[in-house]
């Protein structure tokens, strides 16, 4: 598996004494969309938070772009090319749309490209362009998701860690976001580690799926295989 | 005093909710397993015997210091109940002590009847405590601290506003009849202060053992849960404040008797901060800890004074004690993971390990 963008080996982590993740292994190739699936409490969000360092890992190794991620501070993650869009969309609701987006590019040295990326995001999401001066809390759920996503893109990441983008959104909006992710991948080669409870949507764009149950990986396979595996769907994914 | 401490130690285990490390379960449900625990009355009688014994052995100055410990114990015990058991932080107890002291001075100078003066001091501080307590019951955290801080800073200035009554910064002297001839003054003072202190501690111990104590702890641990369990939160908080204010009034009155004078300078903001330090160090929530706190309040300034005298520096005097108290307060708060709330259970755990 050399040349993998993200390589996770034997990752164990949790809050306090009880581990939530046990010995998790997974790989994301450049330009690949990997869906992490599982029921509530399976450890999906903890997986993302451990990868970005918000939760301390208790064991295992995470390599990104060939280099170990251990010891990388959370605030240096974007500089390595990883953007994490947390659950609940992570829009700073007290700030305006424009401020949120600018926040996403503040760390960048290349000011010109950060500005260009900002314009691109407005192009990509015209509804945000119309609401530049609106505060985050004035936006609809779908707009907030677009804002969080757009803000992540301003850093021109290689890997996007996306936590439940469909949460609380209408099916149509979810579909729009999923299509957008697929287009982004086609255009920019962005790899996505997508945590979702909405299995159908996630598998519709993913190349590969990883199923978590009680903090362990129970299955890893091609998305197309998972879509067709009725037993697995019934056992872990509930549809 | 050991009995009181065990009692409180067991009782404080109830508040494990907010702590990261839970205390073993048996501590919560079966506090009575820890051997024989004497009734508070027995503990207080034993304490009285010890104190009376001490007053015959100690030289006069030590007796005076012993008396001061007793006076401080009144207020630290009351504050322990308020902050440790009920979770309300008050920086206003220095001001309440001033209220008690001035009331005693004014009444005593008018009627020259000490029991009456004490009764008046307690009555007035109880009323003052009820007023602050009513406000405090609606406030939390920094707002309550800010309001009581304002009380602590503003109340001494009242003395200069009504200077005809309070004689401004000079304060008032307190007219006292000398004690019967066969007793030295300091011994009499120690007896007076410790009688008051032991009564206060006994009443508070009985209070916190009963239903009211349970209510107070319930409110401190989780207001919503307490409300659901039928506890009247506002009433519990106001009553706790009133009880501890009355204790502060007794302490203030005792200080007026000890110093035979009252002045605003004797009740600065730092006094309230010292009291806070005393109960934090004493391990919030334990009446035995309140005794340790009261002892520290007398011993630390005395130590820092003798250090200043040796160093021959007048400026060290008083100020060194401030620094020591401040450092101790900060270090204790930073060293105790979980902060204030964890101190009682940490201490009781420590005690259990030693047993």
């Amino acid at each position: 598996m050399s040349g993998a963008l993200l390589q996770v080996d034997g990752l164990t982590a949790g809050y306090g004494a009880a581990p939530v993740l046990h010995d998790v292994n997974l790989t994301v190739q450049p330009g690949e969309i990997v869906a992490v699936l599982g029921a509530n409490g399976a450890g999906k969000t903890t997986l993302l938070r451990t990868l970005s360092g918000l939760v301390k890992s208790a064991g295992g190794r995470v390599a990104f772009d060939g280099a170990d991620l251990a010891g990388t501070k959370v605030e240096h993650l974007v500089r390595r090319g990883i953007a994490h869009v947390p659950e609940g969309r992570g829009v700073v609701t007290e700030l305006t749309v424009d401020e949120n987006l600018r926040l996403g590019g503040l760390w960048r040295r290349d000011r010109a490209d950060a500005k260009k990326a900002l314009d691109e995001v407005y192009e990509l999401f015209p509804s945000l362009a119309q609401r530049r001066t609106f505060a985050g809390h004035q936006l609809s759920g779908g707009e907030r998701q677009m804002l969080a996503l757009g803000r992540a893109l301003i850093g021109r990441p290689k890997l996007l860690l996306l936590d439940e983008p469909s949460l609380g959104l209408a099916p149509k909006v979810t579909a729009h976001i999923m299509t957008l992710l697929r287009d982004l991948r086609e255009r920019t080669g962005l790899a996505v580690l997508l945590v979702e409870q909405n299995v159908r949507s996630a598998l519709s764009i993913a190349d590969e799926g990883v199923v978590l149950a009680l903090g362990r990986v129970v299955t890893r396979n091609k998305a197309s295989v998972l879509r067709d595996d009725a037993d697995l769907r019934h056992a872990y994914l509930g549809f | 005093m050991t009995g009181v401490q065990t009692n409180e130690g067991g009782v404080t285990d109830v508040q494990t909710k907010q702590n990261a490390e839970p205390v073993p379960k048996q501590g919560v449900d079966l506090p009575r397993r820890r051997g024989w625990r004497p009734h508070p009355v027995i503990v207080v009688l034993a304490g009285a015997l010890i104190v009376v014994g001490l007053t015959y052995v100690l030289p006069p100055f030590r007796n005076y210091q012993l008396a001061t410990v007793g006076a401080y114990l009144c207020v630290t015990a009351g504050l322990t109940v308020l902050t440790g058991l009920n979770g309300q932080l008050s920086l206003g107890h220095g001001a309440l002590m001033a209220t008690g002291a001035y009331t005693l001075a004014l009444t005593q100078n008018k009627f020259e009847n000490l029991p009456l003066s004490f009764a008046a001091a307690i009555a007035v501080t109880t009323v003052a405590g009820a007023i602050i307590g009513l406000a405090a019951a609606r406030l939390r955290g920094p707002y309550l601290a800010g309001l009581t801080l304002a009380v602590a800073i503003v109340v001494p200035s009242v003395a200069s506003t009504f200077d005809e009554t309070f004689n401004s910064d000079q304060g008032l002297s307190v007219m006292l009849n000398p004690p019967p001839e066969q007793f030295p003054m300091e011994q009499w003072q120690a007896w007076l202060c410790w009688s008051a202190a032991l009564i206060v501690v006994l009443l508070l111990a009985l209070l916190s053992r009963g239903r009211f104590g349970r209510d107070m702890r319930a409110v401190r641990d989780d207001e919503t849960a307490a409300k659901l369990a039928g506890v009247n939160i506002a009433r519990t908080q106001v009553l706790a404040f009133v009880a501890s204010a009355a204790c502060a009034g007794v302490a203030g009155a005792l200080f007026a008797v000890l110093a035979q004078s009252v002045s605003p300078g004797a009740f600065p903001l730092t006094l309230s901060l010292f009291l806070l330090m005393a109960i934090v160090i004493g391990g919030l929530g334990s009446l035995f800890g309140a005794l340790w706190g009261a002892l520290l309040l007398v011993v630390l300034p005395a130590l820092s004074q003798s250090v200043s005298e040796q160093a021959g520096s007048q400026r060290l005097e008083g100020n060194l004690a401030l620094i020591v108290f401040g450092v101790v307060l900060v270090v204790v708060m930073l060293a105790a993971p979980g902060g204030l709330a964890s101190i009682p259970s940490r201490i009781s755990r420590m005690l259990r390990r030693n047993r």
Binding site: L54, L77, W107 | P268, G339
Partner: protein, 292 residues
């Protein structure tokens, strides 16, 4: 009527000082959810540092700059060495630690400088000019207006127009998200404390000459007034702090003019009680309860 006009200007001048001090409290409250009860003591320490330099060099302005820098530095030290390690599960913890700092700072100042009021210089005359026979305000009042006015403008520009200001706001509102976006949240917190302590020491420099002089506890009553101002404005609102400061300043000025100077501390206490009990969210805040 003449007296009313005079008292109004005097109140505005005082009020701006309280506003600056309240602003310092609000800055830290917004950044760290701590009411910095040590703000007064920290400001006095900075004033003493400036006072020493002024006495040694004879230059008020050198002392002024040193006081502000000392304030900034104290803010950094207090945040880095102490406040960072406070457990924030209960709001009381931060309060108690800040009070411990008050004792340490006041004790240290007492040892170095003694516990007497020391008179301090003013850079400008405090004699009021007369306009049309009415005493209005002094050069010193104008200096206060200018100093606090510039602080308010600078802070506003900093927070609304600069990248650092955007980072500071984001770090305060959403620390985790900000870290994921590359913002050094710890650094922003330190910066917030430094700024607040700097503003606090400015307020100290401005207020001390108008009172009895500098003393380890000189800012205690100013702290109470500023806390009242911050509460009047709602602890979360910088604009509220400024308006609250002006309200408190005017109130105190009228009370001392029409009633008596010695009543002013009680007037502050009364205002604080009325606002805390009557209007729990502050006059300019939408939140319902004072459950911090």
């Amino acid at each position: 009527m003449d007296e009313f006009i005079y008292l109004t200007f005097d109140g505005l001048s005082r009020g701006l000082v309280y506003a600056a001090f309240a602003l310092a409290l609000v800055l830290i409250w917004r950044a760290a959810r701590i009411v910095n009860f040590a703000q007064g003591a920290m400001a006095v320490a900075a004033v003493y540092a400036g006072y020493s330099v002024t006495n040694a060099t004879g230059s008020y302005w050198l002392g002024f700059v040193v006081a502000l820098l000392t304030g900034l530095l104290l803010g950094v030290v207090v945040e880095r060495v102490v406040m960072r390690f406070v457990d924030h599960s209960s709001p009381l913890n931060g309060v108690v630690v800040a009070l411990g700092l008050v004792l340490i700072i006041q004790g240290t100042l007492g040892i170095i400088y003694g516990n007497e009021f020391q008179p301090v210089q003013t850079p400008f005359s405090r004699d009021a000019f007369e306009v049309g026979g009415i005493a209005l305000l002094s050069r010193y009042d104008l200096f206060v207006f200018a100093a606090v006015g510039s602080v308010v403008v600078i802070l506003t520009l900093l927070f609304t127009r600069t990248a650092v200001g955007l980072r500071m706001r984001a770090a305060a509102f959403a620390p985790d998200v900000s870290r994921l976006l590359g913002v050094s949240v710890g650094g922003m917190l330190t910066l917030g404390w430094a700024l607040a302590a700097g503003v606090g020491s400015l307020a100290g420099m401005l207020v001390v000459p108008t009172e009895l002089g500098v003393h380890p506890t000189a800012m205690d009553i100013v702290f109470v007034s500023a806390f009242a101002a911050a509460v009047v404005g709602g602890l979360d609102s910088p604009i509220g702090a400024v308006i609250g400061g002006l309200i408190v300043g005017l109130l105190l000025s009228y009370v001392s003019g029409y009633v008596d100077v010695s009543v002013t501390p009680m007037a502050v206490l009364a205002l604080l009680v009325v606002v805390l009990l009557g209007r729990p969210g502050g006059l300019f805040s939408s939140s319902k309860a004072r459950v911090a």
